[in-house]
Symmetry: C2
Subunit: 83 residues, 2 copies
């Protein structure tokens, strides 16, 4: 069964988020004074053939380690639908 | 109070997701045969000063319309912590 997996990748604390700062500055200059700060990361969806949600999570973690996430500067969180 | 808002931006159905296809092809070539397909989008976090979660959601929607999302090819979903 194909499992729908959501992967949220963001920069680790302390890593300069240039995109986030640029977005924040632009929004404030557009008049959004209520904005404190912004962070920009990657939202990756994966459809993985797996017998269980846990199995899909394990595959997705391996995919993150193999390709999707740079462990030096990035961290990630996974949600598996139906878990 | 600063509200933590999560914005998930992805391409609309029917829009060619070149990044998603590239990621999928790379993962399969790395041996991840269980992968059906992949989609790549943006994960934007916003910290917004607002009296209520609903107020923060409204501000975030306006920010999406003003800058963060291209309505022609993208769609988005918002989650406000504490909603």
């Amino acid at each position: 069964m194909l499992r729908h997996v959501h992967v949220f990748v963001q920069l680790k604390e302390g890593v300069l988020d240039i995109q986030g700062k640029t977005v924040a500055n632009s929004l404030v200059s557009l008049g959004h004074d209520s904005l404190g700060s912004a962070k920009v990361g990657k939202y990756i969806q994966l459809w993985i053939e797996a017998d269980s949600a846990a199995g899909a999570r394990k595959e997705a973690e391996q995919m993150c380690d193999d390709l999707l996430v740079n462990p030096i500067i990035e961290q990630y969180r996974i949600e598996v639908e139906g878990e």
